[in-house]
């Protein structure tokens, strides 16, 4: 992120608040990838991820006047997206418990890798990563995703998920413990072999 980007975000937000919708389209263009990646990592289904990412942008648009321009727009946006996904996962679990609906089939990833061999390994890896993430409770999953894909500090994650730093410290630790147990139990072991040899 360059410094010019930061100032541009605030300018764009100001323009949106003045009624310029094209300025918001520019913000969507800029942040569609991180937001979509977050909703995908959280929800694990491409269609649901797209819907959730669009909903997150719509929510940002609706509540744009609540945005504090002294903060990073990206962080604010990702915080909306992660909380929305957590809510959605909690609701999804409730519906699954109530109607016992089968899980959707695992999605094949649409990666823009040029080499089919690489894209196969990539999609294998992504599938294994998704399986690991999906074994975590929503709160834990969000902490891991924000830590690894967005390089957020404990303090930032705590603020985004409206909790304390010590809660994040223990969530990340517990999540790592659970995932490490799965690694030890041999889940996705072929993936880790590939990782080690790469």
């Amino acid at each position: 992120m360059c410094r010019c980007g930061v100032s541009t975000d605030q300018e764009l937000v100001a323009r949106v608040l003045d009624g310029d919708r094209n300025a918001f389209a520019q913000l969507v263009e800029t942040y569609q990838r991180p937001v979509y990646n977050l909703t995908y990592r959280m929800l694990g289904d491409p269609r649901e991820a797209e819907d959730a990412a669009q909903e997150a942008f719509l929510r940002a648009y609706k509540h744009l006047e609540r945005y504090d321009p002294s903060r990073s727009f990206k962080t604010w946006l990702l915080s909306i997206a992660s909380n929305y996904c957590i809510d959605r996962l909690r609701k999804r679990r409730l519906t699954w418990l109530s109607i016992d609906e089968p899980l959707p089939p695992h999605p094949s990833l649409t990666s823009d890798a040029p080499d089919p061999e690489t894209s196969l390994i990539d999609s294998e890896r992504n599938r294994a990563v998704q399986e690991l993430l999906e074994s975590l409770a929503p709160d834990y999953r969000a902490a891991i995703v924000l830590r690894y894909w967005y390089d957020m500090s404990y303090a930032e994650i705590a603020e985004m998920l409206e909790t304390t730093e010590s809660a994040i410290k223990s969530r990340l630790f517990r999540a790592r413990q659970m995932l490490a147990q799965r690694v030890r139990a041999g889940d996705a072991s072929e993936l880790f072999m590939a990782m080690e040899s790469a």
């Binding site: 569609q32 669009q54 649409t110 490490a180």
Partner: protein, 190 residues
Amino acid sequence: MMAHDPYALMISLSLDGLLDAEEEEDLHRHVQNCPTCAGVWRDMSTLDRVLNSSGELAPPPNFTLGVMARIESYETQRRLSPWFALFAVMIMLSAVVSVGAPIALFVSGLYRRLFELPFLGSWLSFGLHMVSLIQSSIRIALGTVIDWLTLLTADPAALAVVISALVLASTWIGLLEGMKAAPARSRSPR
């Protein structure tokens, strides 16, 4: 088991670069002498590398258009909703007034007073007179039709007359139509 727990937490913190040099050294010393914690360290480090090497996924094309379409419909809804609310209130008010007012007038007997009013009273009685006139003429017209139908179905002679009249009329209509078409056909060969 309990003795390893603080070290497991330290491994997690170490992966996030949150241990100072002294804590880091303490952890390393323990891990070197403890196979359990060495295993945790190895597994968590592998996990750390896997997660760190997972790239960002791109959204499908036209994602921005999809967002802007949602915003458009949200804005339309927001712009129209006060008018819809006003409209609904107006409809409800007029429904209450148009149903409630006559009932109230009738139940309270106040409607009689309306006829005593100097100008409105005469118009009202004129209106009522017109309504009863229309009502009775409809009744007369309907009565005639019903009388005819009763006669037709009860008296075979009358039914026969009507049917033969219908046959005769359709024959004449057919003949007239044929005559209209005939000159065109005869003219075309010349």
